[in-house]
Amino acid sequence: MAEKQVTVTNPSGLHARPAAVFIQTASRFESSIKIEKNGKEVDAKSLLGVMSLAVKPNETITIRAEGEDAETAVEQLCQLVESYTE
């Protein structure tokens, strides 16, 4: 189990396109991955789930993974969230 908090830097937040890139990256991993914002947790591999959080720029989310590649998954996803710009 791996867990990390990350702040969204992209100026439009986790909008549709960034969310799609995010879930595509998440889907490559075997682990079960969740994102949490304000106590609400959704599956990181589901597009509508991630978009339902409506993550704004500068908001902090927690990425949590469970499984064999959990560590790499969390690391790569956090990196993606921090570096993604449209």
Partner: protein, 313 residues
């Protein structure tokens, strides 16, 4: 996770008059029970539930009027505990000066309504129970199949949304795709709804996001539905043992509530929508008292006993 209700929300919802000028309307209300402080007015404070909203009506205020001034002042001073979220006076009754003094000291807001006490009390309880209900978000699809709220679960990419689409085409109703918000309004009853932002939407790989309501009409969607059955979809594994008889019942626990669960293996060529329709109908049949598997087992038992009789002859 549960939502927060503040005194301010209550004031807005029930158009209450705010009778005090200290700014304490941000106080949270954490329990849905109300308290009518009858015994406290008589001086018994041992079990005073200070976490609840205190509701004073004609009975309490008339009783207070019968007390002498000094006792009344002391009682109300003791009554206004600083932990009380708010005090509400009903029937637009006049508020005793001593109550305002007591409330001022502990900074508890005092509110007033024109409604009768019992009626107002039950409305507030309903509102609070609805808004303070424990809730959670699950990954799955909620669909109303023949009136049975079926929660489809399973890992990403197993085909939940595609199955939901097929079910919608067959005349069933979609409640939520991908993220289902679940509330426990009362014991043993879970109600699911979609987050507002993604209501009526389905995501189908290769097609993208579709709006079920605009595509299939208002009859194809519902805003909320009680969850009666969980269907877990999983990839078919040869070694795995799947239920063949339908005699054993599994449960899935959501917010301490057990919901009957079926595990259905997915394999190319299996028509999942039909299987889910049948599972929902069979579930209804069981609720009506007709359990096909159990009845068959009884008949089988009888047939085996009978054949024993024949062999004796």
């Amino acid at each position: 996770m549960s939502k927060k209700v503040t005194v301010k929300d209550l004031v807005k919802e029930f158009s209450l008059e705010v009778m005090t000028d200290w700014n304490q309307l941000h106080r949270p209300i954490e329990v849905s029970d109300l308290h009518r402080p009858g015994l406290e007015m008589a001086g018994f404070f041992t079990y005073h539930p200070v976490e609840r909203i205190q509701l004073l009506g004609r009975t309490e205020l008339t009783f207070l009027q019968g007390l002498d001034e000094q006792t009344r002042a002391n009682r109300l001073m003791e009554f206004c505990h600083p932990d009380i979220p708010c005090i509400i006076i009903t029937r637009k009754l006049e508020i005793p000066r001593e109550l305002i003094n007591g409330a001022k000291k502990s900074r508890v807001p005092v509110l007033r309504t024109s409604q009768a006490t019992t009626r107002f009390g039950s409305r507030v309880t309903n509102y609070l129970e609805y808004n303070l209900a424990p809730s959670t978000t699950l990954h799955g699809v909620l669909i109303d199949v023949y009136g049975v709220g079926v929660l489809l679960m399973g890992s990403s990419g197993i085909g939940k949304s595609e199955t939901a689409l097929e079910l919608v085409k067959r005349g069933h109703r979609l409640i939520a795709d991908d993220a289902v918000e679940i509330y426990q309004y009362d014991e043993n009853s879970l109600v699911g709804t979609a987050p507002k932002l993604i209501r009526y939407l389905l995501e189908i790989r290769g097609v993208g996001i579709i709006n079920v309501m605009t595509l299939f009409g208002a009859g194809a969607v519902r805003d909320r539905k009680r969850i009666s059955l969980v269907i877990q979809l999983e990839a078919w594994q040869e070694q795995q043992h799947y239920d063949r008889l339908g005699l054993d019942e599994e449960n899935y626990t959501i917010i301490e509530t057990e919901i009957p669960k079926l595990t259905i293996p997915v394999r190319p060529g299996r028509n999942l929508a039909v299987i889910i329709e049948v599972a929902a109908m069979n579930f209804r049949l069981k609720r009506l008292g007709f359990h096909a598997a159990q009845q068959f087992v009884q008949q089988l038992g009888k047939a085996i006993e009978d054949s024993d009789d024949f062999s004796d002859e």
